[in-house]
Symmetry: C2
């Protein structure tokens, strides 16, 4: 006997393991969008007059984010931002998918092409101290550029597609290592603590990777399905996510329970004792930094050596 | 080619997975005893004039504890304490094993027989609200009696055989549930906070279940190998320990890393914000309690109903 949708009673198309419920295609899409909406409202992520820059990679998570935000808040000023990283056999296809996505969603797109604008490719880091491990400088470059572009173009919020799986993997690592600063920095909303630091929001904070994939498929969104040929998520993060996937099969709702306990019980206590570093301006680029030279300029220096 | 002992170069008899080293029988025993000694010293568990009552169940962990403590601190005033729980086909054998153990270790033994002293068996809880889940009242009864006997007989410390596996399973549960009070109460030393509350120490705090089993076998200590027929460890604890065993195969040294991060980084922050309940005297038995009627007297009332 086929499973029935918990909302409309129609034939189910997907099961949500942690909640033990089933949905048809249409009701799942509504469920997903309601979750994005309730997350945005719960953490007061967006005000009506905000201008939101949504970081899109071409992957399932950010495609879901852009499409759902547009649908849930039709009046909101949203634009998409994509960085062409110059990775052979990958970045071109990613940009193509993003172009189709914004055409579908009907939002403006800002593309930052590393080769055209800075004369570099993210692959250049392979020939530096980073060797095979270029996920770390890639993250630095992306975080820097999205903030810089958002600031220069007058956006008031940057939305990124960090999912529940990303968050719980980071939490798990931070608890295991006793990294209190890391725990305190990991939040659904990072407010603007410097005039040039645009507030960051994570509307997929409580939504799983799998839910994003299903939403992308049910909405027929264009997306790049293959992982980054240079490693994609770092090996450690991928291993942690697999481990947490296994934990979730043993402890139903593990990700949600862990995140909830962290947010409600642990974080307030940790925040009371942790100090956040104040931001100064980088001596080279004048963008916000916790040190004299910002992480981006340090990485660019490595490339120029 | 056989593995060699990391200390003496002789043929290895056991491998320590988390440290990737091997020991022969003799060197493993020394390694174990040094660890008990260093744990006791690190947390200042024992003073030379202490009188220590060691709780022994007849299982591998508490047998290891009694034997190692005697060997490492030959001058220390140690006696053993055993509770006969009145479990058919189990408690009798456990007491026999404990009698052989103390004969081997040459320590005095105090036996508290629930049937003789209180006219109850721990099995009586099966017919109450607890039904099959009697691990909880069993724990209450044991904790209460060892404290009461230690207090009445003038002991200054109670040593229990909680291992690293026990501690990490409890930590994992407490972090998952955001149980800050539970995290703050879980310590290698619980000082005396009431004249009738004897300080508790856990000398196996950094030693695994597996190390206790190997030590018990290498020292030919008498021990009960079968689990408690009524459940032994609660099902949830057993499941958590299995899960943590799996985590440890994926992340080498998981238990040690997690405990160290907790003790060094998290616990000081949590302690700063948590409040420990002050102890009053139970209205019925006059022993220390955080409520008007202590947990033990509440359980005894249930049996008398």
């Amino acid at each position: 006997m086929p499973r029935r949708c918990v909302r409309c009673g129609g034939e189910a198309a997907v099961g949500i393991d942690y909640a033990n419920v089933y949905f048809c295609r249409g009701c799942f899409k509504e469920f997903f969008e309601k979750k994005v909406r309730s997350t945005v409202l719960k953490y007061a992520m967006i005000k009506p007059d905000d201008r939101v820059l949504v970081a899109v990679s071409g992957g399932k998570d950010s495609s879901s984010l852009l499409f759902a935000l547009r649908k849930v808040f039709p009046e909101l000023k949203i634009e998409a931002f994509h960085i062409n990283l110059g990775i052979k056999g990958y970045s071109k296809e990613s940009e193509q998918k993003v172009l189709r996505l914004v055409d579908f969603v009907k939002t403006n797109l800002i593309v930052f092409d590393l080769e055209k604008e800075l004369g570099i490719s993210i692959e250049d880091f392979k020939n530096t101290v980073y060797k095979g491990k270029i996920c770390s400088p890639c993250g630095v470059v992306k975080r820097y550029l999205i903030n810089k572009v958002a600031y220069e173009k007058g956006f008031t919020k940057v939305a990124t597609a960090h999912t529940l799986d990303d968050v719980v993997a980071l939490l798990f690592n931070s608890y295991l290592q006793g990294d209190v600063d890391g725990l305190v920095r990991l939040k659904p909303v990072l407010p603007s603590t410097h005039t040039k630091f645009v507030a960051k929001i994570k509307p997929l904070w409580e939504i799983t990777d799998r839910e994003c994939l299903v939403y992308t498929l049910f909405c027929d969104l264009p997306y790049v399905s293959q992982p980054c040929p240079l490693g994609g998520e770092t090996t450690k993060m991928r291993e942690r996510k697999e481990l947490i996937g296994e934990l979730s099969t043993k402890i139903r709702g593990f990700k949600h329970i862990f995140l909830k306990s962290h947010m409600k019980r642990m974080l307030p206590l940790l925040e009371a004792s942790a100090k956040m570093p104040s931001l100064i301006e980088c001596e080279i680029c004048r963008m916000p930094s916790s040190e004299r030279i910002c992480a981006f300029c340090k990485r660019m220096r490595i490339l120029n050596k």
